[in-house]
């Protein structure tokens, strides 16, 4: 069974043309179908902003039907994690989609992401517990960005509640955590947000204010260097044998950087296999020629 699932956070970015998606697309061209030729997992981020209609989920499943091992991980709606205001109806809506994916063996798990400002205190701990209980039957990944959560008691709690800790790589500012995958739970879920310190700081200042797509994306605008990826490889390999599945999700999406880095990580983590790199990406990121099959 496949252990390594490496992909990106979302697949629908216009600025991935032409660095991933081709400039000229035929009428039947489908982005997800194309994406699934190169990766075996995708993290669904639109579910964070909207409650997704089941028909759309059916469509996704159909588009990846040729890829046996392809999984979706679903990011939980912000009503649950950021606004802390949700109804039974909304819970049902999320669960319907999770169930659908689960029945089709396409569910990687549910990503529950909390903001940087979410520190460990009694109220927040109860909030985490409440969500974990609501989604008790599903594999869950908990993303906390504040240092205060990185204590053994919290890790043990996750382990005992069908959940795993989501490790993140982000610019290390203030009380943000440094990248170090920790085994807490059966699986490893790693998200790479890039290391664009300057833009990250700027976005913290603008948090909650209206921002354009470009402004919002800028903090993820970062391409990991080959040397940084070697360090990342080393750190992941230190815990690889202790877990069942590893999800590696690149969220440094602007311009397709996430695609290039995800392909590079496939090469590194899968013992240097040559990777199927699309021509478009090879052109935009010539350094990938060293790892490319073609």
């Amino acid at each position: 069974m496949e252990k390594l699932f490496i992909g990106t956070a979302g697949w629908s970015y216009k600025d991935w043309i032409p660095s991933f998606y081709p400039q000229t697309q035929s009428s039947g061209f489908d982005w997800l179908e194309y994406y699934s030729q190169y990766f075996n997992v995708v993290e669904v981020n639109s579910s964070y902003y909207t409650y997704i209609n089941q028909k759309i989920v059916d469509g996704w499943i159909k588009k990846v039907e040729d890829r046996n091992d392809f999984l979706f991980t679903i990011k939980l709606h912000q009503d649950f994690t950021h606004k802390k205001k949700f109804s039974g109806e909304q819970i049902q809506s999320v669960k319907l989609n999770l169930n659908k994916l689960n029945t089709e063996s396409r569910l990687g798990g549910l990503l529950i992401q909390f903001p940087y400002s979410f520190v460990l205190n009694k109220e927040n701990a109860n909030h985490v517990k409440e969500l974990i209980d609501i989604f008790a039957g599903y594999e869950k990944f908990i993303e906390v960005r504040h240092k205060s959560w990185f204590i053994q008691r919290f890790f043990d709690f996750l382990e005992n509640n069908n959940s795993s800790l989501c490790t993140i790589d982000q610019p290390v500012i203030g009380e943000a955590v440094e990248f170090k995958p920790v085994k807490a739970g059966d699986n490893l879920y790693i998200r790479f947000h890039g290391r664009n310190t300057k833009a990250w700081k700027g976005s913290l200042r603008k948090f909650g204010k209206d921002q354009s797509y470009e402004e919002q994306s800028e903090r993820y605008n970062y391409l990991y260097s080959p040397g940084e990826l070697l360090e990342i490889e080393q750190k992941i390999k230190e815990v690889l044998d202790t877990v069942k599945k590893v999800f590696v999700i690149l969220n440094n999406h602007p311009q397709g950087n996430a695609v290039a880095n995800a392909l590079e990580l496939i090469h590194l983590l899968k013992e240097r296999i040559k990777v199927n790199v699309p021509e478009t990406t090879l052109k935009a990121y010539p350094r990938l020629s060293k790892i490319s099959l073609n």
């Binding site: 290390v172 040397g227 070697l230």
Partner: protein
């Protein structure tokens, strides 16, 4: 590693492949060549050459400032791989490693065959070309590793050391540099065999202790003990100015900056220094160093006072300065003692360690210590 910095640059940008590439900065500046590709060497370029001279010889070359951090990352990754195979790995520089193969034949088979496997693995894993020398001691192994670059493997069997060395030009022996080379050449030494055949007493009279060492090296003798500790022997920081400086105040300011950076490195490693040296280079390239040994310290203020004193004693000519450097050596571990009553020194030590943590997190410029600060806490 072969042309290591250039090889890393080619990973970052494959279009540099096959071209004369020089890492070292502005070709019109005053720096030196840190590394150059084999294509650049065909024009007579070599590392440590002033970059302006390099540009004169090879104006069509591609001159890069380099990616220091990235080189460090690749170096550490290579070292991690080597440590998987060898019980003892001594890192000699960012791109040179000594590996102790003693007893490894039983596991890995013939050294030369294993070297080929290792060389391939370094290439497959990192896309870095390397050369390997195998011999009974470090000196010969190093010379052998340089013997067939790039991507060479040279095995000097035990007992064959002298024969291997004899025909090589004398400058292949590490330690024979700008000063000793002309001296030896003018006395008729051209190949290593000439040194091996000479009397050790003659060489000792000529070059002192180094002369004896040289004779031993030329005769195939050398150290086979690898030092694995990651400990730094010294910390250096120096800077070459864009324009020569004559203002005493300005130079002191720069010296203070260098001291702060060196002391930050010192504290990062949990070290204290006992010997402080400064290096001055005048406009006319006259270079001098002055050193002083003191009680172990990691305090910017203490180090700066010594450095300033040394500078004042050395800066005796009314000529501009082109380079100034600070060198901290005789390093030992800093240990925080359990003290019931803290004196000012202890408080200051803790303060400096807090400064270090802030700088590690936010960068060197996040917090500055004033030059005129009195240390009264």
């Amino acid at each position: 590693m072969d042309a290591f910095f250039v090889s890393v640059e080619r990973i970052l940008d494959p279009s540099l492949e096959g071209k004369p590439v020089i890492v070292g900065g502005d070709p019109h500046g005053r720096g030196v060549v840190a590394a150059c590709s084999y294509e650049a060497r065909r024009f007579g370029l070599h590392s440590a050459m002033p970059i302006r001279n390099a540009f004169r010889l090879c104006p069509q070359g591609i001159y890069l400032h380099g990616h220091g951090k990235e080189y460090g990352r690749f170096s550490r990754a290579v070292k991690r791989l080597l440590e998987r195979y060898f019980p003892i790995v001594q890192q000699a520089s960012i791109d040179e490693f000594y590996l102790d193969f003693t007893g490894c034949e039983k596991i890995y088979g013939e050294p030369a065959k294993f070297a080929e496997k290792l060389q391939n693995e370094i290439w497959d894993r990192f896309h870095l070309p390397s050369s390997i020398g195998i011999a009974s001691n470090k000196t010969i192994a190093k010379i052998a590793s340089d013997f067939k670059k790039p991507r060479g493997i040279t095995f000097v069997p035990p007992g064959g050391e002298k024969d291997f060395l004899a025909p090589l030009p004398i400058e292949k022996i590490p330690g024979i540099g700008k000063a000793t080379f002309p001296m030896l050449r003018s006395r008729g030494f051209s190949v290593v065999g000439d040194i091996a055949k000479a009397s050790p007493d003659y060489l000792s009279a000529l070059l002192g202790k180094f002369g004896t060492e040289l004779w031993e090296k030329a005769n195939g003798k050398g150290n086979d003990i690898l030092v694995t500790e990651h400990e730094r022997k010294s910390i250096s920081k120096e800077t070459t100015f864009d324009k020569d400086i004559i203002s005493r105040t300005k130079i002191e300011e720069i010296l203070f900056e260098l001291v702060s950076k060196a002391c930050q490195l010192l504290r990062n490693e949990n070290w204290q220094t006992s010997t402080i040296s400064i290096k001055l280079r005048y406009t006319d390239f006259v270079t001098l160093t002055r050193a002083k040994t003191i009680e172990p310290t990691d305090d910017d203020k203490v180090v700066f006072e010594v450095a300033k004193d040394l500078f004042e004693k050395s800066f005796t000519r009314r000529v501009g300065i082109r380079l100034i450097g600070i060198h901290l050596s005789k390093l030992n571990h800093y240990t925080e003692q359990c003290i019931l009553f803290e004196d000012n020194d202890t408080i200051r030590k803790r303060m400096l360690r807090a400064v270090m943590k802030i700088r590690d997190k936010y960068g060197f410029d996040a917090i500055r210590i004033g030059k005129s600060e009195t240390g009264s806490n």
